[in-house]
Amino acid sequence: MAKSHDVRRYPGFMAITILCLVILYAPLLVVAVYSFNASPSITIWEGVSLRWYVDVFTGPESAKFREAAWNSFIIAITAATTATAIATLAATAVLRSGRFRLRTFSLGLISLPLMVPEIVTAVATLIFFNAIAIERGLLTILLAHIAFCIPFAYMPISARMQGIEASYEQAAMDLYATKRQAFTRILMPLMMPGIVSGFLLAFIISLDDFIITNFVKGAGVETLPTAIFGAVKQGIKPNIMAISTLLLLVSIVLVALSWLIGRRDQARGR
């Protein structure tokens, strides 16, 4: 087909796509570049240096950030693991236990944290902890994180399970496997790529959260985002840019991992 007749092509759309990618990546790249700036000022460029990365690990604020990072990590690991387990069981019931009355309700409940604005979830959770008089601290952050991680773990798990035919488990049971064995020996191994992506997404979402954590954390308990927010309120400093760049790398590695697992698996499926 001659190019002039290709109705799919619109002039300028490619330029806008490239502009879009530039807008998406420019701020992140700029911060990453400036995190290597030797100058203590964020405006003047004085040459390449790793001093702010050294500062992050050994500087005067390093103890605060180390503790915040540790809290973030513990919360993200625990919340993502719990949410993934809950989501796996729920997806099995929703997709593999026939039709039932509470199916729509269960799906609605699982997607509720996605539909309610974050600030509203934050307010509601704070009020809830206040009403039942739990002292705010690491535990309240963890509980809130488990809840909002569930839908993010659920999405890839459910997508993966929809791609696995029930006949594998049927075949196992025809060969006298019990239901429990069919679940643990057949369905779970086939589900693994979905479960891993679900876990990684939940982990990133937990690591990222600022608004809800900011409401339900107790005084003196910080996660990395709340610690960064507190520091940024006093002005953007070079060590914040170094921490940001490190976190950026963690997120990108995790997402790339999740993507590659999904892709390799798709390629094998074909």
Binding site: F13, L21, Y25, L28, S97, L207
Partner: protein, 306 residues
């Protein structure tokens, strides 16, 4: 992907019928206790009396909603007039979120269309490129945006160096900065549903129209856009809803004059100056607005399937 809610998918088997309740119990318990119950208690709190040290006194009161909508004068005995302060903040938030949505649509539609018309092998990579920034910490993205846009920032330096401007553009602490921040925060939510819709679109329709001498842009307007409308509506709502309640972009990019709902609510729960019932009431009003929008979305997607 994100934002649209968990989709049901088809029921494929009933292998685990007997275990169903046990499989669902953890999800019901956790989400029931930590999501549904808190929303209910928040509704209750919005009808209570505020305590002066933060928190509430358990006395039924309509004061929070009254304060939101009406001005009764300093001593509470003047004839009530409409209180515009909070309605104004909501209105500004709707306006800001709306402009951010339009900006996302203007950039997101061509991007989604371009990606959907790439060879199949390339598409996943393009989608991946657009979604990566979404997974980077929102706080860090917003801080990065502020760093880039501020008066002595790299954007102004660059523009002045090449002589486009002689004075730095004051972008930070304006409405435009907030819109850019929101656009930056939620753009993938616009691109993904439109991409999905264009990918399913039957290009034979465009070709038929072109064969009948419809110009390129007429084909876009009269054939393509109506066909992918459900995707566009979904994208707009998925950007608009989180923008409406956002806190970080207005707080870090907008400054004090560009206050949005999120900051209004946050203020009620910080320190001793807060008013919990009022914060709960404002949250309820925001939640109601959002649920109405999501119902529109649900109807649209049902239409899209039909």
């Amino acid at each position: 992907m994100a934002g649209g809610g968990a989709t049901g998918g088809s029921v494929q088997a009933d292998t685990y019928r007997e275990a169903r309740t046990w499989l669902l119990l953890p999800a019901w318990l956790v989400l029931g206790i930590l999501t549904l119950a808190p929303l209910t208690i928040m509704l209750v709190y919005s009808f209570l009396t505020k305590d002066f040290r933060g928190g509430v006194v358990w006395d039924f009161s309509l004061a929070a909603y009254d304060q939101f909508f009406f001005d009764r004068g300093l001593f509470g005995d003047d004839p009530p007039r409409i209180e515009w302060t909070y309605i104004g903040i909501f209105w500004r938030s709707i306006w800001q979120a709306g402009l951010a949505t339009l900006l996302s649509l203007a950039v997101g539609f061509p991007t989604a269309y371009f990606i959907a018309t790439r060879p199949e092998r390339e598409r996943a990579l393009w989608v991946f490129l657009v979604t990566i920034p979404y997974w980077v910490n929102l706080l860090i993205r917003t801080v990065s945006m502020r760093f880039l846009l501020r008066n002595e920032g790299p954007l102004n330096d660059g523009l002045m160096a090449i002589g486009v401007i002689s004075e730095p553009l004051a972008i930070v602490n304006t409405n435009l900065a907030v819109q850019l921040g929101l656009f930056y925060s939620y753009l993938p939510f616009m691109v993904l549903p439109i991409y999905a819709a264009v990918e399913r679109y039957n290009f034979a329709l465009s070709e038929a129209a072109a064969d009948l001498y419809a110009p390129r842009w007429t084909v876009l307007r009269r054939i393509l856009l109506p066909a992918v409308r459900p995707g566009i509506v979904a994208g707009c709502i998925l950007v608009f809803v989180p923008s409406l309640g956002s806190f970080l972009a207005p707080d870090l990019l907008g400054g004090a004059r560009n206050f949005m709902i999120g900051s209004l609510i946050e203020e009620q729960f910080k320190g001793n100056a807060g008013n919990w019932p009022f914060g709960a009431a404002a949250s309820m009003i925001l939640l109601t607005l959002v649920l109405i929008l999501l119902m529109v979305l649900a109807r649209q997607s049902r239409k899209g399937e039909a």
